[in-house]
Subunit: 296 residues, 2 copies
């Protein structure tokens, strides 16, 4: 048995999928869920995702070997503060948040001497659907989980978290905290802003009804991520604010280059930009296909 | 037999798929292809897409009952001018271009008295891959084809083009020329600009290698369309310039609202934008699913 007692704080898509995966692999003896809604938690029990649940975080973490924070980012501070007195000396705490600098700051401030047992984590997996009903035991298979341990982070704690994710089928990699936030701002947070802005923009247009009627496959793929959970993305924006604003500014420059090329009839420049982007995107596809081949 | 002789001007993804579909349904007796590259045209013959080919557009359209323009938009003017003297009085001419105002203008100027036999068309189907090798007989099945006939367009010609697309499994709908260009700018041309700009932006970042390494499924879907043919999209931009610039400007406003909400810590506003966009996108998914159900 890898872990004895796991407390999943927030039994939604990610927390629920982790619980399902750990149970499916018989990697722990007991999983307790914490959340605000007894209905959702009961649903998680009924679905066989968790063993039982508590509506108080202090009860949930008591005697836990592993505590996994999987709630919206802005709840972390209050939750860590509340659970702190009830955490064991050897309890490992980790999270699944999409921004890491702000999480590390909050964890350092609240966990104090236990901070070395906090392993910041981020599984690069998800769906546009949220909630425990959408959770799946195979969500993390052939996906990466990024850990961003600090110099003071306990090596045994890192190893425990690594093993937990590996048993779920994920590949665990390490990144620096800042580096994680910069990369995720570019590859995930910025695209979400573009998808939200695009859908909101189109729904504000006069031809609204016709627009959505004639939208084709490309549009559908492009805006799928705009169906993601608004509260979660609201929290991510403020938690990774500096890097996201930097990425949005950089994007603005590039979009303006395209606009300016169209406005000034700069045919060569426009063709150059599109050709360069296509070459980059094609290279990305090849890299991804190669990776998937080597994993399978 | 629906049509006797069809001339496909430009045997790429769309022209090739149309030819394949017409042959598969035995809807015409002979398909001749025109293009610049004898190698590509020979490939199209070898793949069974067309019966034969000509490297001169005048030969290709001779005795054709239906001429389909499926080359990049900026070639239309020269091609229509060249073929004009060889078109029969009853020949129907149509096209597959993604912008219609500029096409109508060019067709009116070059076709003169034959202009009523020109039926502006646009199949809402495609792939990020281009070329005849990517063409498929079922590309238009359960897809819409938009026709934007003018008041002077010949009713029999419209009907002929409608039947041609319907035999390929498509649903034919009519839109005004301006309305088409506005809708396509919003649902297709603008998203392509965003995808090209995003990929180009990321490839300009310092963490470039890591960025593409950690990009996940959402990013992949979001930027798939940046692999589309640069020359084709270059032409679309200039052909639908006014509507595209208008759409880009509107988008810029909406993206700035998000940026401003993040910058000014306007939590309520950000949550409102994301929630509204999610509701719109979810409604789009339901509409699409309903449509697919009713067609199947």
């Amino acid at each position: 048995m890898l872990i004895n007692r796991v407390a999943v704080i927030g039994v939604g898509l990610i927390g629920g999928s982790l619980a399902r995966a750990l149970r499916a692999r018989k990697a722990c003896t007991h999983i307790i869920g914490f959340g605000r809604s007894p209905e959702h938690l009961q649903e998680a029990v009924d679905l066989g995702v968790i063993d039982d649940f508590s509506l108080t975080v202090t009860d949930a973490v008591k005697d836990a070997d592993m505590v996994v924070l999987a709630t919206p980012l802005k709840t972390y501070g209050a939750l860590l503060k509340a659970m702190r007195p009830y955490l064991g000396d050897e309890t490992v705490i980790t999270d699944v948040g999409s921004a890491k600098s702000s999480v590390v700051e909050v964890a350092r401030a609240t966990l104090d001497k236990l901070f070395p047992h906090f392993v910041p984590g981020h599984p690069i997996a998800g769906k546009e659907k949220s909630g425990v009903a959408a959770s799946a035991a195979d969500l993390f298979e052939v996906h990466r989980v990024i850990l961003t341990p600090l110099p003071e982070t306990d090596v045994a704690a890192i190893d425990k978290v690594k093993q937990m994710w590996e048993v779920c089928g994920a590949e665990v990699v390490h990144l620096g905290v800042e580096q994680h936030d910069e990369i995720l701002a570019a590859t995930s947070h910025l695209p979400h802003m573009l998808a939200y802005a695009l859908v909101d923009c189109l729904s504000g247009m006069e031809e609204r009804e016709e627009i959505f009627k004639f939208a084709a496959g490309g549009f559908s793929d492009f805006t799928r991520i705009a169906s993601s959970d608004p509260q979660m993305w609201h929290d991510i924006c403020f938690s990774n604010r500096a890097q996201l604003l930097k990425a949005m500014e950089a994007f603005d420059d590039y979009l303006n280059r395209i606009r300016s090329a169209i406005e000034t009839d700069n045919s060569d420049e426009l063709l150059k930009i599109f050709s360069r982007a296509k070459a980059t995107r094609d290279r990305f596809t090849r890299l991804r296909d190669k990776r998937n081949d080597s994993i399978e």
